[in-house]
């Protein structure tokens, strides 16, 4: 195994680790599962790393591998008991627009996103990460039109969940 490659990989992952954390939080419900998924993604990324040629950004490539890992792992454990806890999910809200209802709305929205199926969740995640549809389609391996259509449907779904 190439020492240099290893060092480069770990350094890049270290500086991009928040992406993986966000995915873990979205796809798991407790700290243990979060750590497990993080480790699994790390190992999958490392396995795939020799094939990463650097023709896309490290982070772009990472989104793809990490989401794939989360989705396949999530599929395997789908029948596990789903507990909804909001522990650890909190967003920084600046004091001038601090408002209980905003906090509440955010939590509800986050919970609704968490409840989506694995593929839809990946799409919303990339959307929240401020990726454009071209990037989303490349990461998920679907067409741009398809990702737009899907996103619109998901928005509809979320609307229904929040305003029944």
């Amino acid at each position: 195994m190439n020492k240099e490659l290893e060092h480069k990989f770990v350094t890049e992952l270290e500086s991009n680790q928040n992406i993986v954390h966000k995915i873990c939080r979205l796809y798991t419900n407790d700290r243990d599962a979060h750590n497990d998924l993080f480790q699994e993604i790390t190992i999958q990324l490392w396995r795939a790393y020799p094939k990463f040629r650097g023709d896309s950004k490290f982070s772009t490539w990472m989104y793809r591998v990490a989401l794939n890992t989360a989705i396949t792992l999530y599929r395997k454990s789908k029948r596990r008991v789903q507990t909804q806890d909001f522990e650890g999910v909190s967003f920084k809200i600046s004091s001038e627009d601090y408002d209980d209802t905003i906090e509440e709305q955010l939590k509800l929205m986050y919970a609704a996103v968490k409840d989506l199926n694995d593929i839809d969740k990946a799409l919303v995640f990339l959307y929240l990460e401020d990726k454009n549809y071209k990037e989303i389609s490349e990461t998920l391996g679907i067409s741009e039109v398809n990702s737009r259509v899907k996103m619109n449907r998901i928005k509809g779904k979320l609307r229904k969940v929040l305003n029944p």
Partner: protein, 215 residues
Amino acid sequence: MDELELLKSKWQSQEQKFPKLTFNDIYKMLLKKSSSIVKWIFYISIGELLFWATLSFLVPDSTQDFVTEMGLDTIFLVINIIHYCVFAFFIFLFWKNHKKIQTTDSVGTLMNNILKTRQTVKYFVIYNIGTTILLMIGVNIFYYVNGDALAAAVKHNTHQYDAIPPELFLEKFLLLNIIGGAIMLALVLLFYFLVYGFLLKRLKRNYKELQKMEM
């Protein structure tokens, strides 16, 4: 979709809430592979035990009768019981190694545990091969010494050897027995070499990587 836009606007600011993993934290995750290798050693040893146990149920009645007639049934039973106890003890050791490696967090202990696991596997293989060889030699010497009883017992239980003239019987029987035993032993050796050899090699590689990290 105001709520989604709201979530998006606040999305980036959740970042500082995450644990910050250091270079070494992530590096160690790559080395956690050791844990899954040791897990496989544990599983394979259980599978092996089950395999041998099932095989012993499949022994045909004629062989059983033959063993009884030779007066070997008690000693075989005792050997079997001891053997399974030792086997179970090894499985227990594998399990202990696995548990230990899972919970290790320092590189030094992990290295120690890898060494220990390799040692256990080596003893396990030596034990298995050693007992197989000893048992084969012992049984064949016993047959040789009790040649007449052997001929009678074989005649009672199978007709496969009827065509062989009695004066050549003992030689032929022992020869077949030894060839059969050798083939069996070769297969077991090949299995150990492929399966455990492969796993041990990977453990060794992990160990070397850890060594570099420690320096």
